[in-house]
Subunit: 237 residues, 2 copies
Amino acid sequence: MIDKSESGLAQPTRARKRAATPTEKEQHKPYHHGSLPQALLQAAEVVLKRDGISGLSLRAIARQAGVSHTAPQHHFGDTAGVLSELAADGFMRLSACIANRARDVQDASERPRAIARGYIEFAKHNPDLMRLMSRGEMFDSERPSLIEARRTAGLALAGVFGDAPPAPPSGKHTFGPMDASRAVALTAAWAYVHGLALLLVDGRLDGLAASAEGIRHADDLVMAAIDQVQLSIGQAS
Amino acid sequence: MIDKSESGLAQPTRARKRAATPTEKEQHKPYHHGSLPQALLQAAEVVLKRDGISGLSLRAIARQAGVSHTAPQHHFGDTAGVLSELAADGFMRLSACIANRARDVQDASERPRAIARGYIEFAKHNPDLMRLMSRGEMFDSERPSLIEARRTAGLALAGVFGDAPPAPPSGKHTFGPMDASRAVALTAAWAYVHGLALLLVDGRLDGLAASAEGIRHADDLVMAAIDQVQLSIGQAS
DNA sequence: TGTACATCAGTGAACGCGCGTTCACTGATGTAC
DNA sequence: TGTACATCAGTGAACGCGCGTTCACTGATGTAC
């Protein structure tokens, strides 16, 4: 979903054809990278995993990608731009993770749990990215790719409603009109799985897991919470 | 809970006595502040609210407090030190918020909702601090005050269990031995309220609130989620 | 009661570092004619 | 098919800034005798 322009993946191949032998390939570094935006995002993710969110500077990303330090600025404008694109990529991958799990279940009543497992699975495999994605204040919220990716993730999450998706949205909203009880149910499901994911990636459950008999890892605690806890809507007594 | 040493609040009073008239007070700034650690933490919170987490540097805090830029280092060591103390203060205040709400309810079955309301109340009144508190990787986790404050918050949260608190902890653990189902229930309750709080302070629920009929603010969505959604433990079908 | 001294609290100059930003530039590509 | 030109992609030097850190220092307090 990043850089759908025509400069996508065609040009590096062409460049490689010109420099046929391996030695030439190494020596003759083409001036035009061809798919630098994607390469920069990959580099950014390496930096993120290695140095954490605070290590994500334009210069660090450029170093990792092996290009001059002004190249990222040229493509993304500023740090918030890169972080936004990185997060957008994360939201799309999160959506895919959720959709994969949801597709696998037959029984619609099992779909909420499947979605939760997809969410947690993503968080477990991409803890740093998950953390970055929850740092909304670091992004440029106007970025179309980020808006679109968040909407996609929102719709994937709304799959908790089974086969009846919410009404189609108008304008830049994720959802169309929705009655209150449905919005509350979605809020609850979202908060629950979001909370589990963040507590897990932040290591906040480690102490509790250590105290709990029969539980070895925080992972087990989270999976048990998904498997065994029901969220049901209804007026308080 | 911060700086319980004898240098607490006595000395500024004494200093003020020496410089009796207002003019003198302004002119004669005593060399020894007397309670600089507390003043620095207050300054840090001002900076946090004004400039966000990324604005929290030792120098910015010193500027806000009106002292030399090496003074914070002298008391807290490094940035992680200040952030840890600030977060510890936050956890203590969160605990107090929870305890206040829990104390007010008569019916033990209503306690979980009361605790959740206390948690959300704190988050609503201190959104930046709440965000900071969830940035575990920025802290010095070994700080005794932070460990103690987190334990206090954990115990306040464990009040969801009603009048039967968990077994007393040994060593530096928050909880003593606990059976698995109880740990899972605590995980679920914690994740739920934590997720609600973070989604709220990060503004992530604003779009959903706008789409929901009869809901005006994200706050309403969160309060409805607390009031209307039940978490119940039991094996999945 | 006084004196000497150790310790604590806070200052301010200086330093090196990594950062984002600007700017004039070069290399490569695409397109109009 | 060729040529000219506009545009895009990426470079590298230079700049100013805020940061944390070090260091020698001064002011104030507490304590031993």
